[in-house]
Symmetry: C2
Subunit: 327 residues, 2 copies
């Protein structure tokens, strides 16, 4: 009999294997646990949030497609994005796990380290330790610790809440596709370069996360795409959601680059790594938040009935498609 392998169960399958043996932590000082963007616990008057993300060469990035500086910076930004999603927890301490093949050029590592440092400095976070090992592929495993007074979990969405997103969707995935199709040396036009930049140089919505935390019931980042983010919020809150397709914000660059409607929809719903924040809030709070953060859009509504449905210009539509699969 053929052995079942990882490809048959996917990333969420692994999480299930782990979670099935995992007794729900019910300690009173634990504020958020498995199933949120970060793990959070109470220490004195503060909440400490810890997140961990891995980036592996040829899986999450190709050395030809991203400069070592940008890669270092991105490695930090994607972790800060998790802290942003907890309600803008202030990044304090960063731990760097780094593996590299023996033939990695020193100049590459120096540039990579510069990117790491630039991002940490920007957020006032300190590099506090880690582990460096030999590996066949560049392997980056960052742990980031942030501190805040309160946190926003994924599980607080309420029936009737509006669903918000901090900015454009799909840019990063479109940029990745351009790199994948033409390689990094192709003569891209200005729009295309801009989309690639969104992929290689994402910026965590840390300040936005802190502002939104005063208004939102639930929040997560859009690292695996908008559809996955909204599903995570709805599932964690034991609710469903309706997505307003026509309200999803599209950048001018993406609009000019992608002509096909289905392809556009695929980027908007399933394109990962935009690192925007998806959140829910009571409708009455929407107007004042929009004044504070004009770039946000409201792109759906939480429903009591489970499952995700779609509307376009007020009419129900059906959409086939699966979320980005890690495995």
């Amino acid at each position: 009999m053929k052995q079942k392998t990882l490809s048959t169960i996917g990333e969420f399958g692994i999480i299930d294997i782990i979670a099935s043996r995992f007794k729900k932590i019910a300690e009173k000082n634990i504020a958020a646990s498995l199933g949120d963007d970060a793990f959070s616990f109470i220490a004195g008057k503060e909440i400490i949030s810890i997140t961990k993300d891995m980036l592996i060469e040829d899986i999450h990035f190709k050395k030809d497609w991203i400069s070592p500086f940008d890669l270092g910076k991105k490695s930090i930004e994607v972790n800060i994005s998790d802290l942003a999603a907890m309600g803008g927890a202030q990044p304090k301490y960063i731990f760097i796990g780094f593996g590299a093949p023996s033939d990695t050029e020193i100049v590459w590592i120096k540039e990579f380290a510069s990117g790491i440092f630039a991002a940490c400095n920007k957020y006032g976070a300190k590099i506090c330790g880690g582990d460096t090992v030999r590996a066949d592929k560049i392997t980056i495993s960052i742990t980031a610790l942030g501190i805040s007074e309160k946190i926003i979990k994924r599980s607080g969405a309420k029936d009737g809440d509006l669903i918000g997103i901090t900015n454009f969707c799909g840019n990063s995935a479109a940029g990745l596709d351009l790199l994948s199709k033409y390689g990094a040396k192709y003569h891209f036009n200005r729009d295309e370069k801009n989309l690639i930049k969104k992929h290689n140089q994402p910026i965590a919505r840390l300040k936005e996360g802190a502002v939104i935390s005063d208004f939102a019931n639930s929040m997560t980042d859009s690292s695996d795409g908008l559809f996955v983010s909204i599903s995570l919020l709805a599932d964690a809150s034991k609710k469903g959601a309706e997505i307003f397709i026509d309200k999803i914000p599209i950048s001018p660059q993406l609009k000019r680059t992608v002509a096909d409607k289905d392809k556009m929809l695929s980027y908007l719903l399933f394109g990962g790594e935009d690192f925007e924040l998806a959140f829910t809030l009571r409708e009455k709070k929407a107007e004042i938040l929009k004044k504070l953060l004009p770039q946000i859009s409201f792109i759906g509504r939480i429903k009591s009935k489970k499952g995700i449905t779609f509307k376009e210009y007020g009419k129900k539509i059906k959409i086939d498609g699966a979320a980005f699969k890690h495995f």
Copy 2:
């Protein structure tokens, strides 16, 4: 001109690249930083210590040589060992970064997860989150968080201090060499099996670390071998050390398995992954600690003059050799 690569500078070279851009953290709430077994900071009345270790297939282990259960357990033990080295910080929260190829068998992952859980349960530590990704090789990146009232750093060794080690040296490296030479399916004798077990099933000296913390000036674990551990303690403390070769404890199994004197010395000084604790303390405290932990040995002395020298039966000797190179 040929580009300089990682192989020319080694692991400590990378740490230098990172450290050279790293402003020494001088916040008053930071208790231990880069250059210790863990990063420690003060939160309320407690000290929180965080450590991170990576294990990569075909670099740190081969799937043929270790069961998935043992690998899961070892992944945790090596991190707990760092907490032990900080003075027995109580493990609280564990974060698991895990990468695997798509063709990894589910049964392998389940067994691996069981090993992780067994080790966490043993120490009362909770699995709190992490990241699962696709990777070409099994990639394990664990972050462990422990809590204690005080910590022991590497930098507190004083001139004249005795150097102690919690138990036998060299077993793990000898076990690894047996696997490397004969493969896992060879019919090993009982001694050889025991050495392999020491490699595959290390046990963190957590309780010992807590006991020693009441006596020691400095401490680290012997993950990279005894010589490296003593060098780290001496360097961090701006001192030197004398190692008493004839006092290094040798297990009966290792004694019966290794006949060659140079090979034995190489295991004792440079063999990694024993995960014993190396520490320094004032000589007057040695007797009472030995009563509490009879298995410890005193195998050297801190000297004011920098550098590491060797004695055998009271006579100075010269030893050539380099510590285990990661790259």
